[in-house]
Symmetry: C2
Subunit: 220 residues, 2 copies
DNA sequence: CTGCATCCGCTTCGATACTG
DNA sequence: CAGTATCGAAGCGGATGCAG
């Protein structure tokens, strides 16, 4: 059998946006990248996390992403894992911006939609954009069993997934964490809904009270 | 006949990015928004500028964008024009970021791809990101017959399309203008290739020499 | 001319079943 | 676990038609 590297149809526009959409504009592609932003995953993990994707599409997209230099296959201890290349991680910024734009669409509520706590690694820096801290602060977060480290430094917020946790750790449901980041919950309201270990001042540094949330609202 | 407002298939993910892609992730949709960013256009103008789109798709996408509150129909003097709502203009930032990410894809050259000078209004602020000026400076640009005003202030660069032109105007081909913004051409190289009227120092303020271009390269 | 609507062949998508 | 194979349904692209 011949490997057919499927080439997606091009817009044929000499424009950086159109060229970008030529390779990441197809259905599911950016969501695959979203899954890989926090770190490498195996095929089956991808399939599970991307609830709803057809298995043939997942393979096809991964092949295309690989041939375009966005994703690479690596041999881990347990088998094959898919990881973003450096070029691929550059998609974080546009994806974060698009997520920020789309944030008001979440106010209609979760309606049987699936949810994965790893998606918070994209959402939290977006919601906290503009928050800075010197010296840097780090907060461990555990939401729905998923552990991450939220770091705020002079450049702004970022989320890393790594084994060692900082001294201060906040454990709560994803809703509470998002509520805190989105400004719907104050720290006083959120803390009793979760479990805080460590220094409460870290929380106020990371989720500064009275912050003005980028208040784009839809006027449907 | 019944208006059928076609609803695009949802990913069913409770995630701002996925919700955004639910409504602007389909083929052609973001390119329609790109056309409207500089200002309202009529149906036929859209069709021409978006070389390659099928007429039924254009109608369908415009209807969907309208029902999602991103585009609105207005009655101009000459007929119907399509314009972005305020919510729609918020897409500029993610689109600019995605275009910036995709900029290296242009280095393979234009290969019979179509080109519209109005696309520069998206590309130039992207390429010049990080450049600031106090007090603000404005440069008139005419590329391939399309006129725009490039403004740089303390918040960075932006492009506006408006009738009145600033005192300093640079007229050149789109290639030269892009070369200048991308750093491939110095001011000394570019000026003889075009026509400069006014103050050359405006050029150096807008296209500062020795600027480090966000040097993401593909390692295909 | 503008601003679409309709038709049709092709491609892509999604769901399910199956395999090394 | 990590995919391949198949097939009906939906979406896309190009051509054409037509009213205002």
């Amino acid at each position: 059998m011949m490997d057919k590297i499927k080439q997606s149809r091009s817009y044929g526009h000499f424009c950086a946006l159109a060229r970008a959409l030529d390779i990441v504009g197809e259905r599911w592609t950016l969501l695959i990248v979203r899954e890989l932003l926090p770190g490498p995953l195996r095929y089956t993990e991808l399939k599970v996390s991307l609830a709803g994707i057809a298995t043939n599409l997942l393979v096809e997209r991964l092949r295309a992403l690989e041939s375009n230099g966005i994703v690479e296959r690596r041999l881990g201890e347990t088998g094959v894992v898919y990881a973003l290349t450096r070029w691929g991680t550059g998609l974080r910024e546009p994806m974060e911006a698009l997520g920020n734009w789309g944030a008001p669409l979440l106010t209609t509520g979760r309606n049987g939609d699936s949810f994965q706590p790893r998606w918070l690694t994209l959402a939290l820096p977006g919601l906290l954009r503009g928050v800075t801290a010197t010296p840097p602060v780090e907060l461990g977060l555990e939401a729905d069993g998923f552990r991450m480290v939220l770091r705020v430094d002079e450049d702004g917020p970022s989320v890393i997934v790594r084994p060692d946790q900082p001294d201060t750790i906040f454990t709560a449901s994803a809703e509470v964490v998002v509520g805190l980041a989105a400004g719907g919950l104050t720290i006083d309201q959120a803390v009793p809904l979760g479990d805080l270990q460590g220094d409460r001042r870290i929380l106020s540094a990371v989720f500064p009270p009275g912050r003005v949330i980028a208040g784009r609202t839809r006027e449907t």
